[in-house]
Amino acid sequence: MLSAPPSIPPFSGFGLGLRPPHFDDFLSEEPVKSVDFVEVIAENYMVEGGRWLRLLGLVRERLPVILHAVSMSIGSAHGLDCDHLFRLKALADRIDPLWVSDHLCWTRTSAHNAHDLLPLPLTKAALQVVCENIDTAQSALGRAMLFENPSSYLTFPEDEMSEWEFLSDMARRTGCYLLLDVNNIYVSARNHGFDPHEYLAGLPLDRVRQIHLAGHDPATLQRPVIIDTHDREVAGEVWALYAHAMSLIGQPVATMIERDENIPPLAELLSELERARTIVGVAAGTVVSA
């Protein structure tokens, strides 16, 4: 760690991934009362001007905003893209987000960009690269970041540790925080045959500041792999895993519903958010489960 980044205090709330179809809802005269924050895909706003940047500024006047990046490529052996980092910092300085996040993954080599969240070998060498890149990113941004556990469809023969051990060491060595995607844990656990409860028990849960909940495409006879799709409602098994996670996490966290395809009317997402609220209430003992 270059120097300890500023700490991120816990934030308690329930939010949504804000996508273009719902901007009007969030900018209408009648505020969306049951949403405590929104998260946006950072790269969509890493521009110099225009309508979308202005609208994001208007939303920010009403609600806390989280910048969720998808192209930092923190696991790239070739280091970070300076232009991406520069533009992300400019956006963060402009929006003053709750925090900035990305994924434990890589997306690019020195030559090409896959525009997908690709898995890393879970090795000491890869961990070293990731930690150095996180140090660079946090130092450039002047803030600690959150990193999200990815969903994955393959593992590497050279793996030397579990994903939760990798994430734990990464957080300890860099001072970064964790964005826990419960759906991703479920998807990867099913695809790779590990116990999601062991995964949760092995994480430094005090470093968790945010939780993602999303839908997935179940395995079929023809395709024995679950795919993280963000195109449907959260599955029952994922809600159960979320309830278990919330019973383990000791501090307030920000919980969010993430939908990127087949985006429904806002009311449907708010209904899912209410379910998360109820689960947290049950975990905290303030709501009696039916």
Partner: protein
């Protein structure tokens, strides 16, 4: 930075296998890895094909589904993305179309127009100078100031010479039941693209106007523009006519809100 022996090679092999289904599996990978790799390859292709479809909606309508799909595939194979934003994958798609559909040159021009308009969307905000404001500011210009005048245009505005009436083509491709209108124009024309407020827009102009715009955008002075129009060894009458033509161009740029600033270095 500490070297990461093995990781760079692993990532390069993984990337090769995503880009090319015929590339060998990375070392140590078997059938189970091939299943996972297939999902990543499918994600890659789907995301980029969708990004191109979204960026070139009208080009797609003009081409038809099959040709448009093949054009997108050709483009992604020839020019795999390297930029951090997926939107950048559309860069050069007009050139791909020019190569693939040489007998239909309007397709490449339409793709150029769509890309130019998309590129304006996130450009820096810059309010235009109104014709009245420019008239007031330039009222005291002498000849030296006019000749040294440099204009600043709307950020990422673009100009091109074209052989088709892109305005008619654009309109003909509106809506679901789009009909491709014949759009060849008798003389080569020009097209200027910029963002008006928060909306990307374009206007058809003469080829000379587009050429002049590009020259001024590249830093030419107003005097250079008059010289360009007047040609070699002009007489006084030709120079006067050229000055008039340049004035008409400037008037059009101002009227459309394309001019966002100016300097006239001779002014103290």
């Amino acid at each position: 930075m500490t070297a990461a022996p093995g990781l760079a090679e692993r990532q390069a092999a993984f990337m090769r296998a995503i880009l090319d289904a015929d590339a060998p599996l990375p070392d140590g990978w078997g059938a189970a890895h091939a299943v996972g790799l297939g999902i990543y390859r499918g994600n890659y292709r789907h995301a980029l094909m969708e990004a191109l479809a979204s960026s070139f909606e009208r080009t797609g309508k003009a081409l038809g589904a099959d040709d448009f799909r093949q054009a997108r595939i050709n483009h992604l194979i020839a020019d795999p993305p390297s930029h951090w934003t997926i939107d950048a994958c559309g860069a050069g798609f007009d050139e791909t179309c020019a190569r693939a559909f040489a007998p239909m040159p309007h397709i490449a021009e339409l793709a150029w127009l769509e890309w130019a308009m998309l590129d304006c969307v996130g450009a820096p905000d810059a309010p235009p100078i109104t014709p009245a404001d420019f008239a007031e500011a330039s009222a005291r210009f002498g000849d030296a100031q006019w000749l040294s005048l440099i204009l600043t245009f709307a950020p990422r505005a673009k100009a091109a010479e074209v052989a088709h009436d892109l305005a008619a083509l654009w309109t003909s491709l509106d809506g679901e039941a789009a009909q491709l209108a014949p759009a060849v124009i008798a003389q080569r024309g020009g097209c200027l693209v910029w963002r008006e407020g928060e909306r990307a827009t374009f206007v058809m102009v003469s080829a000379e106007n587009a050429c002049a715009f590009a020259a001024m955008q590249a830093g030419a002075r107003y005097g250079d523009l008059i010289g360009l129009i007047a040609g070699d060894d002009p007489d006084d009458r030709t120079i006067a006519a050229a000055a008039g033509a340049a004035g008409q161009m400037l008037g059009l740029w101002l009227a459309h809100g394309l001019v966002t600033g100016f300097t006239a270095p001779s002014i103290a």
